[in-house]
């Protein structure tokens, strides 16, 4: 087991680890990378802990809520709103 680990560590992966400084740094690439890091951190902080898009609880909660929210408004609500409106218009006309 140790042998396997050593082999893989001394093998190809080390070259990709990227700890050695590039003698001729491509400035554009470095700048872009640092920008990406700066942007990703505040975005993560803005996400509400545990209720963001990656939270299973948050997703289930929104699915549950959305299932009710997406239902058409029942006629009785629309009728009630019409009645309230009519009563108000009628009382205004009287005055």
């Amino acid at each position: 087991m140790k042998d396997k680990t050593n082999k893989s560590e001394t093998g190809v992966p080390l070259r990709h680890a990227g700890h050695e400084p590039d003698p001729k740094p491509v400035i554009g690439t470095v700048k872009d990378e640092s920008k990406m890091n700066e942007m990703s951190v505040p975005r993560a902080r803005r996400t509400d802990p545990g209720l963001g898009s990656n939270s299973d609880i948050g997703a289930k909660l929104r699915a549950f809520y959305g299932a009710v929210q997406d239902q058409p408004i029942p006629d009785k609500f629309l009728d009630l709103l019409e009645k309230l409106d009519q009563v108000e218009q009628a009382s205004k006309r009287k005055v």
Binding site: V41, A44, T47, P49, D56, K60, Y65, A67
Partner: protein, 182 residues
Amino acid sequence: MLEQPPSFKRELLATLPSLRAFAVSLSGRHDKADDLVQDTMMKAWAKQDSFQMGTNIKAWLFTILRNEFYSQMRKRGREVQDTDGAFTERMSVHPSQYGVLDMADFKKALDSLPHDQREAIVLIGASGFSYEEAAEICNCAVGTMKSRVSRARTRLQEQLGISGEADYGPDAVSAQVTSQGF
């Protein structure tokens, strides 16, 4: 002269779907929720002069509905809440990406939360309110709201056997980023 009533009506209408979802979340039942929404509509209509157009009508209506819910609860005394079969029925008409059974489990877990925690996690996690707005609706401090949401989340995770990020993997990179916020 006529401008205020029609636009109040329109705004009330626009908020109804979300208001109804909040009512279902609070009461745990569709029939009671619809009664609650109806009572809220009448109260809001009667009080519309006290509402300033251009301010947050959604928060205003949610506050009325919540007050109505708790005052009705006090009048009736504590009732045993049973989950309604109507929910599962309706869910099968409107299937989400999650299975119907899965969602029924979730609703059961949500219903088992104490009222203060349930409303907190719904207002923040689904209704789209900020902590400040939710605290105002529930008449509590912002810090209290935050701790209620956090306790609600923990309880739901325990009940549903979800450990956190490990259970899903639509986007491993952002999951990693999000977990840094903990």
